[in-house]
């Protein structure tokens, strides 16, 4: 058991590419931290630096109270699970799991005992004499886990351990790994590009982009109060709708104009985000989560409420049974600043092009998550109730969330 501390850890490759820049992270003893980000964001490099598979260019890495920058992997008291498991193909499951113990020259009896108990935890007992080639993907994954837990290390490192499993098995294994970690109480760093894994498994989630840490917090906080446009767009599926808006203060509250439509911002929101006052008359990026839009036709009172509704035409309807995803074409403008473009490019290449087209005059496509009772059909015009209390605002130039930072903490 040990805490892991990264202090301005930096990785620059010999060809000049900076994979990780000034990464500051403190992972508490026993904590499950998920590193998430799009491919190429440096999350795997960060993990490999902790493992000792990559040298650290600058900064300090501590496991427990030891600085381990220059220690080889085996002296760091860590175990790692690889994306493709990296099982030794010529050894049986038992030998695979016991390999590290054998190298550590433990007595044979003890190796056997520990391998057996690890196998028991992972339900691998009947496969101990098989070779990896004879196992299914899920079983191989468990062997890889077994190889890690049998050593009882102070830190687990996992590099996208579920990405080679099919969807159903992935969901099941996700839960198994999370509960196993809780049971063992071992500090764990888990790298993934899948934000669902990040949200469901981590005690805290660290979002990375272009080698830089964007935000690290509990999953709920990350979702409710993303620090910037990138985190807002990356976390959540379907992702947050980002629209271009102009703020106009009106006494206690404010109005934000989204193209020809406008939303009223109540005084309470403004009180929570005092920094928004500085944007009077200026453009902001308005973020609306799909689930904060609801079918106005289903509203209890039915009376039109001024300034909390957006209108548009349904272009695509995805019925998921429990809920309804509607892609609604509005006459609002999507937010297309340089920052948004680059964020969209990081999240999804094709997204940039779609954004440009929408900005050019098609109007923004908004994804709304409606109650399944909604009767909205394709080509219907719909009115959507907006939960204006939960709107997010970002500065168009920097992409940062508009809020008083002190207030954000209090809000959580």
């Amino acid at each position: 058991m040990a805490a892991v501390t990264m202090d301005k850890v930096t990785k620059v490759y010999p060809n000049g590419v900076a994979a990780v820049v000034d990464l500051d992270l403190e992972i508490a003893d026993g904590e499950f931290l998920v590193l998430v980000g799009p491919s190429g964001c440096g999350k795997s490099t960060a993990l490999r630096m902790v493992a000792g598979l990559e040298t650290i260019t600058a900064g300090e890495l501590r496991i427990g109270d030891r600085v381990v920058n220059d220690l080889p992997p085996k002296e760091r008291d860590i175990a790692m699970v690889f994306q493709n498991y990296a099982l030794y193909p010529h050894m049986t499951v038992e030998q695979n799991i016991g390999f590290a113990l054998k190298l550590a020259k433990l007595p044979k009896d003890e190796i056997r005992e520990r391998v057996l108990s690890a196998a028991k935890v992972l339900q691998l007992e009947e496969w101990l004499q098989r070779k990896p080639g004879q196992l299914s993907g899920g079983q191989r994954q468990r062997v890889a886990m077994g190889r890690a837990i049998v050593r009882e290390p102070s830190v687990f490192l996992m590099d996208e351990p579920l990405s080679n499993l099919d969807a159903k098995l992935r969901a099941q294994t996700r839960a198994e790994i999370a509960s196993l970690q809780r049971q063992l109480g071992t500090t764990t760093i888990y790298v993934t590009h899948d934000q669902i894994e990040a949200m469901t498994m981590g005690d805290r989630v660290a979002v990375m982009r272009d080698g830089r840490l964007q935000q690290v917090d509990q999953p709920e906080v990350l979702y409710a109060e993303p620090a910037n446009l990138f985190v807002a767009a990356f976390i959540g599926s379907p992702s947050m709708n980002l629209l271009e808006g102009t703020v106009a203060l009106t006494g206690d509250g404010a109005t934000v104009a989204l193209g020809e439509q406008a939303l009223q911002i109540p005084a309470s929101v403004l009180a929570d985000r005092p920094a928004l006052r500085d944007f009077d008359g200026r453009e902001v990026v308005v973020g609306i989560r799909p689930e904060h839009l609801s079918d106005a036709a289903l509203a209890a009172d039915g009376a039109p409420r001024d300034g909390t509704r957006l209108r548009g035409q349904v272009e695509l309807r995805e019925a998921l049974g429990s809920e309804l995803l509607l892609h609604v074409r509005t006459n609002c403008r999507p937010a297309v600043t340089d920052e948004v473009r680059s964020v969209a490019g990081d999240v999804d290449e094709a997204a940039v092009e779609i954004l440009e087209r929408q900005a050019a005059g098609q109007g923004a496509m908004i994804v709304a998550r409606f109650d399944s009772r909604s009767r909205a059909r394709v080509t219907d015009s719909v009115e959507m109730d907006v939960d204006v209390e939960r709107l997010q605002f970002f500065a168009p130039e920097t992409g940062n969330r508009i809020a008083d930072l002190v207030e954000v903490g209090a809000n959580a």
Binding site: L53, F82, R147
Partner: protein, 387 residues
């Protein structure tokens, strides 16, 4: 080239044969299949044609001296050909077809066998052939040639057993030692970071281009007297005189030298294609380079090692040039190739002995090839195609 790629038995991939044909098969596909079988048939015909000299040698080796010298080996078979030229042609074609089908069937059986079966089947087939010929023929057969071949009573007698042992004494170190060195070197080139690695590797690979003829004389000098450099009246010994002239050691040392670059190159290609994750996992499990090499790389490289072993074994076993240069043709330490050549020179008239001796000399390579054929095909591919 199509002939090669459309011949499943030749590549050992018997599982790839089409299953039972579906009920409704379009006419075009039947024609396609018949046409597709033509290259396979041509290939098998070639195999049979190319095997005929070996068959002739085998038959001759069992014939008495007088008969070998007076009649051809094919006369042991009863003459199946009728007088009419047309009929004789037809009979000849039928015989060829039967032999081709028989060989093809044997080959199909062969690829389904395990390792022991793969060694046993050719032996059984050859013995069956010999017995068949002996039974069907009215000629006399004898083991006298083989007895004489192994005869060691006089200094002039062939004494093949001794030369068989000589061949082994050269081939075994010349096969085992390069593999042992090359495996280490290949691992280092593939997975260890050190300065000048790429240049060193390029240098080793460039050695592949050195022709052996070019180095025969310098090597001979080296073995006879060492290498010395005289500068400003001082003589420096670059390589001591190890008194290796005329020894088998000189022969296998040379084979090692010329085998190493290829061995390193082939093994490097194979070892560097092993997944990097495996090595990282091992490092995290606490393995250092020697442990990774012995516990991981060596067991995983068995196919590549076996493939190179076959290559090198066959090359050294069949070598004549190096052995005759360093040992001399009359040496008692000469391997079988050299001895055979001497026999055919000194006893050019003794065809009966030559055939028997030659058959003895190809017996071991045949056994090695059939026993490790699986690795041979795989190893040929390992260097070029990743997969």
């Amino acid at each position: 080239m199509t002939a090669v790629t459309t011949t499943p038995p030749a590549t050992g991939s018997d599982d790839l044969e089409p299953g039972p044909s579906p009920a409704r098969e379009p006419v075009g596909s039947v024609a396609h299949r018949i046409l597709g079988a033509i290259p396979t048939g041509v290939l098998w015909a070639l195999v049979v044609l190319w095997t005929i000299p070996t068959l002739g040698m085998l038959v001759s080796s069992f014939r008495p001296e007088i008969e070998v010298k007076t009649t051809g080996w094919w006369t042991v078979f009863p003459d199946p050909f009728p007088e009419s030229k047309l009929l004789a042609g037809i009979v000849a074609l039928i015989i060829l077809a039967v032999v081709v089908v028989l060989v093809a069937l044997l080959a199909r059986l062969y690829v389904r066998l395990g390792r022991v079966g793969r060694i046993a089947l050719p032996i059984v087939a050859v013995v069956a052939l010999v017995v068949l010929v002996m039974v069907a023929s009215d000629s006399t057969f004898t083991f006298e040639n083989y007895r004489q071949t192994f005869d060691a009573s006089t200094s002039d007698s062939p004494d093949m057993w001794q030369h068989f042992l000589n061949s082994l004494a050269i081939t075994i170190p010349a096969t085992v030692i390069p593999i042992a060195f090359a495996a280490f070197a290949a691992y280092a080139f593939a997975w260890m970071d050190f300065k000048g690695r790429d240049w060193l590797f390029i240098g080793v690979v460039a050695l592949l281009a050195v022709p052996i003829q070019l180095s025969l004389v310098p090597l001979l000098q080296l073995f006879v007297g060492g290498a010395h450099l005289t500068l400003f009246g001082e003589t420096f010994t670059l390589f001591p005189d190890l008194d290796l002239a005329g020894t088998t050691t000189a022969v296998w040392l040379t084979h090692i030298g010329f085998g190493l670059p290829l061995a390193i190159f082939l093994l490097h290609n194979y070892i560097s294609s092993l997944p990097a994750d495996l090595f990282e996992a091992a490092r995290i499990d606490g393995a250092d380079h020697p442990t990774i090499f012995w516990r991981l790389v060596l067991p995983l490289s068995v196919p590549a090692l076996a493939a190179f072993a076959i290559f090198q074994f066959l090359w050294v076993w069949n070598d004549y040039l190096v052995a005759s240069t360093f040992l001399g043709t009359g040496s008692a330490d000469a391997p079988m190739t050299v001895r055979l050549a001497t026999l055919s020179g000194g006893r050019g008239q003794d065809w009966h002995l030559l055939t028997a001796a030659a058959f003895v000399s190809i017996a071991l390579p045949l056994a090695v090839f059939f026993g490790l054929q699986r690795y041979f095909v795989r190893g040929l591919l390992a260097g070029s195609v990743k997969g």
